[in-house]
């Protein structure tokens, strides 16, 4: 997680107009964000780094593939980057379609620096958070998979709120054995408290067969 945060977020800027693209790139770079410029939307779709952390800035009006088509393409491919749309003439209809296709923000050109930079930073924060949540989920799932059959059974009963004694009765084990399973569980799942255990693993227990 630390290695992810240490990297500065990368903004993908897609606009066919070179002077506009360069000016926007310069503006974005003044707040310490890295910018990768793309002149051709198709080129961008084929080549951009999906693992990168950051956001995408898309111009709506481009020759060839339109910004909206690119947005729909990204959505279909499951790309999780927040997308900020830029347009010269924002009609209500265009705006509606953009948000429906999953745009994070919709800004009119010429764009105010504060607005654009705020939107970008918010988008980057959201992306980082979503990635963190995603990796936390991933870790929890790996730990849950390492449990034995008996331990999962005990975990389910703990989450249901039963005491050690009650658990022993339910699955005909001595309370001492239950106690030792419980200690193993907390250790294996790296749970500092019962609350943490319930918050992170209740969903996994319910989903398990």
């Amino acid at each position: 997680m630390n290695t992810l945060e240490s990297l500065s977020p990368l903004i993908h800027l897609v606009d066919d107009d070179a002077p506009v693209r360069e000016a926007l790139a310069l503006l974005i770079s003044t707040v310490g964000l890295r910018v990768e410029q793309w002149a051709d939307p198709e080129h961008f779709l084929a080549r951009f780094d999906r693992q990168s952390l950051g956001a995408i800035v898309l111009d709506v009006r481009m020759p060839g593939v339109s910004g909206l088509a690119v947005l729909e393409h990204l959505q279909a491919a499951g790309v999780d980057h927040p997308v900020i749309m830029l347009t010269g003439h924002g009609t209500v209809d265009l705006c509606r379609r953009a948000f429906k296709a999953g745009a994070a923000e919709f800004l009119e050109k010429p764009v105010n620096d504060e607005l654009l930079l705020d939107a970008l930073q918010q988008a980057v924060r959201r992306h980082v958070k979503s990635r963190q949540r995603h990796s936390a989920d991933l870790a929890a799932r790996q730990r849950f998979a390492a449990l034995t059959e008996r331990e999962r059974e005990v975990l389910g009963l703990i989450i249901e709120g039963l005491t050690n004694k009650e658990i022993g009765r339910a699955i005909t084990l001595s309370p001492r054995t239950v106690e030792s399973h419980r200690a193993h569980l907390f250790e294996k799942l790296a749970a500092p408290s019962l609350a943490h255990l319930i918050r992170h693993y209740a969903a996994l227990v319910e989903a398990a067969p």
Binding site: D17, V20, L24, L27, K109, N112
Partner: protein
């Protein structure tokens, strides 16, 4: 925007087909009408002829029966030969009598014939007929039971005197074709006697009447023939029909063509307006994009520069670079504006031709007449006898068109009084100008718009582009004219002052 009317079916077929269709309709109508008139005329002629022939037959039959009655009376009364009989009945040339075993006097052939006729008792008999000579003899044997000394009688009848000319139906008016074309005769075997001859000539139809006289003793056929010739045709009626039909159809065709042409003209005009608006919309959209791009770059660059200069230490190199790029983008925006100006400017606007301003006003009003009617506006055109103006007829038309349309739109808000529109062409304030005025009694122009009325994109109408008046003013100025507004109470008056065409220029132009 109103949808364009679908082209009417006539418009789809070619001019030549249309002409052929009209010709077919004209010809078939002409033929059908003529045929009807002809049939009527023939039927009338036939009816008249049959009536006349029947009357003639009846008259002659009555005479024949009368002859039999006279003969029967003589046979019964047995008088001596009485010379007074022909005086009473002029058709009897002679009265003959033969008593007992006497022989009939006269030529042997005739007396033999009379003798033969007497072989039949009790009924008058035809003895001898000389139809070509216009006479015949009828005779009757003595009645039975009167004794051997009783006499037989015979009458010599003259055909010309037998015809009752006073009551004769044919030839009452000898000049009429009905009289001239009718031939009437009596026929007995091969011989005949013409009552009247009739003239010869080609005939379209021939009616024939033939009937036995209603007296057995005079077995003659009355034959009548009616020739229906060329001069019997109803020439006057035919001529009038041809004339009337052609004139009526011609008027219809002209009306149709005119309304078609008018419809086309209106549609073209509307199309022109639509396409002008579309072009304008395209231009505006393109312009917005073309200007937006450099403005975006300029804004981003300057804002980036501000941030670069705020850094500690300021990044002068990058800031300088950004400012250079800003200058380039500002020039790009200026180029867009210059290009737009070149597109909009019309070349050669200064030239002009002498134009009859009143004529242009008249044609515009005529063109917009359906529009006026639709808006329920009463229109009045007043024209003074003024000189022609120097200008571009198309531009003048467009100015007047715009002013009238504006007035019509303004008048839509009037509900409490008659909607009036006055257009006038009169002498201007100075001798070298002509003034056109378009005045309405609508709500007038809002106070806050008065000063900016002729600026582009200023409109008093919701959704209006605000280009109409500004365009009019530009067009007027280009022709050396002047367009301004005078408030009227109520309403608004737009006044166009145009320079007159001087004689020298007019002569050059013509």
């Amino acid at each position: 925007m109103r949808a364009l009317a679908a082209p009417w079916p006539w418009a789809r077929i070619s001019r030549r087909q249309r002409r052929l269709a009209w010709l077919t309709v004209w010809l078939s109508g002409l033929l059908a009408g003529s045929a009807w008139l002809l049939t009527q005329s023939m039927e009338r002629a036939l009816n008249a002829f049959e009536t006349d022939a029947r009357i003639a037959h009846r008259l002659l039959s009555q005479r024949a029966v009368q002859h039999e009655a006279v003969l029967a009376t003589l046979s019964l009364m047995q008088p001596r030969v009485d010379e007074r009989l022909p005086a009473i009945y002029p058709q009897f040339l002679h009265m003959w009598r033969r008593s007992g075993t006497q022989a009939w006097p006269g030529a042997p052939a005739l007396s033999a014939a009379l003798e033969a006729a007497n072989q039949v008792k009790g009924r008058p008999q035809l003895a001898w007929a000389e139809l070509a000579g216009g006479r015949f003899w009828i005779s009757m044997a003595p009645a039975e039971g009167l004794g051997p000394q009783s006499a037989a009688y015979a009458l010599e009848v003259s055909l010309p005197l037998m015809v009752p000319w006073a009551d004769w139906p044919f030839g009452q008016t000898a000049e009429a074709p009905a009289a001239r074309h009718t031939r009437v005769w009596l026929q007995h075997g091969q011989s005949r006697w013409d009552i009247h001859a009739g003239d010869a000539g080609p005939d379209l139809r021939r009616f024939v009447f033939r009937k036995h006289l209603a007296a057995a003793s005079q077995p003659f056929d009355l034959v009548a023939e009616r020739r229906y010739g060329l001069d019997d045709l109803p020439w006057l009626a035919l001529g009038l029909w041809a004339l009337g039909w052609s004139a009526g159809l011609g008027a219809l065709a002209t009306a149709r063509r005119q309304s078609g042409a008018r419809k086309r003209a209106e549609e073209l005009l509307r199309l022109g307006q639509v396409s002008r608006l579309n072009a304008l919309g395209e231009l505006a959209a393109g312009l917005a994009h073309e200007l937006n791009q450099p403005l975006t770059a300029i804004l981003a660059n300057t804002q980036a520069t501000v941030r670069l200069l705020e850094e500690e230490p300021p990044d002068l190199h990058q800031a300088q670079d950004a400012m250079a790029k800003t200058a380039t983008q500002a020039r790009r925006a200026a180029d867009v504006v210059a290009r737009l100006r070149r597109v909009i400017e019309r070349p050669n606007a200064a030239g002009g031709v002498p134009v009859d301003l009143a004529g242009v006003a008249h044609s515009v009003l005529q063109l917009l007449e359906p529009e006026c009617r639709r808006h329920n506006v009463h229109t009045q055109l007043n024209v003074e006898d003024v000189a022609r103006v120097m200008g571009d007829p198309v531009a003048l038309e467009q100015i007047i068109h715009n002013l009238v349309i504006n007035a019509l739109t303004a008048l839509d808000q009037v509900t409490d009084r008659q909607r009036n529109l006055w257009v006038s062409v009169s002498a201007g304030a100075t001798p070298a100008t002509v003034r056109l005025s378009v005045r309405d009694n609508g709500p007038g122009v809002a106070k806050e718009l008065l000063d900016r009325l002729f600026e582009p994109f200023v409109s008093g109408r919701p959704g209006g582009l605000g280009l109409g008046l500004s365009l009019c003013e530009t067009l007027a100025a280009e022709m050396g004219g002047h367009l301004h507004m005078r408030p009227a109470t109520p309403g608004a008056e737009f006044v166009l002052d145009m320079p007159t065409a001087t004689d020298a220029r007019e002569m050059n132009a013509s």
